[in-house]
């Protein structure tokens, strides 16, 4: 019998082929297709070892699901990255929403109220400020005119 040597796969394979050939050809002993592979998996399962050589469907693999989720997130980010501000017909949604609200009259009161506040507040000027403005204006205008007048003379 060959000594144990994992690397001696050629000898191992040759021996297995010889055994199979003689048993099938000489003795007529057949077996189901892919029997040894399936049997190995069953034995490993029975002794509680996970068969790493067995091909498992991808959908049973946790790593597969994690990778799929990561890819899905990447796709979502890639697609929406260029329009992080939501848009409707090329107009930022915040603008179009406001327009829509205005058109529907939903925000009329609020909008007009704000506009009125701005206009009214602009009308109120402190007296002191107004006096100062007028005084300065008058003085500058007068000084300028007099100077200009002298040159003309």
């Amino acid at each position: 019998m060959e000594p144990l040597n994992k690397h001696n796969t050629t000898g191992q394979k040759a021996l297995e082929e010889k055994l199979q050939k003689t048993h099938i050809e000489d003795l007529g002993l057949g077996m189901p297709e892919d029997y040894f592979s399936k049997s190995k998996s069953e034995i490993l399962t029975k002794v509680g070892i996970k068969d790493k050589s067995r091909v498992l469907p991808l959908y049973r693999n946790k790593i597969f699901w994690a990778a799929a989720a990561a890819i899905a997130v990447l796709i979502v980010l890639t697609v929406f990255k260029t329009s992080t501000v939501p848009q409707i017909d090329g107009i930022p949604a915040i603008v179009s929403d406001t327009i829509e609200q205005l058109n529907n009259g939903l925000a009329d009161d609020d909008y007009n109220q704000g506009e009125s506040d701005i206009l009214i507040s602009s009308l109120f000027v402190e007296d002191a400020e107004l006096d100062e403005f007028v005084d300065n204006f008058m003085l500058e205008e007068v000084l300028f005119d007099e100077t200009e007048f002298k040159y003309k003379k």
């Binding site: 010889k18 055994l19 199979q20 034995i43």
Partner: protein
């Protein structure tokens, strides 16, 4: 290159045991299957016994004392599992050992995975006519490719007796199969 001693260390070390056991299966699964198959005749029986054999091997590995080679030890377990299986079958069927021997061909040919034709049937018939021990010695040497020393360790007989039995059997089969090219062309 890994020695058997190193391999056994890995098999008995919980850290490496699982991987080493998978390698052990790769190395011996087919050899043990064919050994078992000839003893229990049908594929279905051989499949059961093979699984039980490896379960027993896995459980017994921590107790393996290396008094024989790993290979011989495993063959002995496979052989004993096969005999245990046959014994249980006999009890179920209330049949004697002689009946079982007489039914050798019937059991074999009823197996859906028996693919033998005229030539194979003739050889099987010749084998079925042999005394059980003589048949086993022949099969282990001729088909399992075991050395006489290994057969001695598995069956527990004397080497001289085994050799004598084997060569007599070969001569007997050659005479019986004289007209069959297949047998005389390849072997002996």
């Amino acid at each position: 290159m890994k020695s058997e001693a190193d391999f056994i260390k890995r098999l008995t070390n919980p850290r490496y045991r699982d991987k080493a056991f998978a390698e052990l299966l790769d190395l011996y699964q087919q050899r043990l299957y064919w050994h078992i198959r000839k003893l229990v005749h049908t594929h279905e029986n051989a499949d059961d016994v093979l699984q039980n054999t490896f379960l027993r091997i896995y459980k017994s590995l921590p107790n393996f004392k290396q008094q024989s080679s790993l290979s011989t030890w495993m063959y002995r377990i496979a052989h004993n599992e096969s005999l245990r299986f046959l014994e249980n079958e006999k009890k179920k069927q209330h049949a004697s050992l002689d009946d079982e021997a007489n039914n050798y061909l019937n059991i074999l040919t009823e197996d859906i995975y028996f693919e033998g034709k005229e030539v194979q049937l003739k050889l099987q018939r010749v084998l079925s006519e042999l005394p059980e021990k003589q048949r086993k010695i022949f099969q282990m040497k001729y088909y399992d490719d075991l050395k006489f020393r290994e057969i001695v360790d598995i069956l527990g007989a004397k080497e001289g007796t085994l050799k004598s039995s084997y060569y007599n059997t070969v001569k007997h089969i050659e005479e019986k199969m004289l007209d069959v090219e297949l047998f005389t062309k390849n072997k002996v």
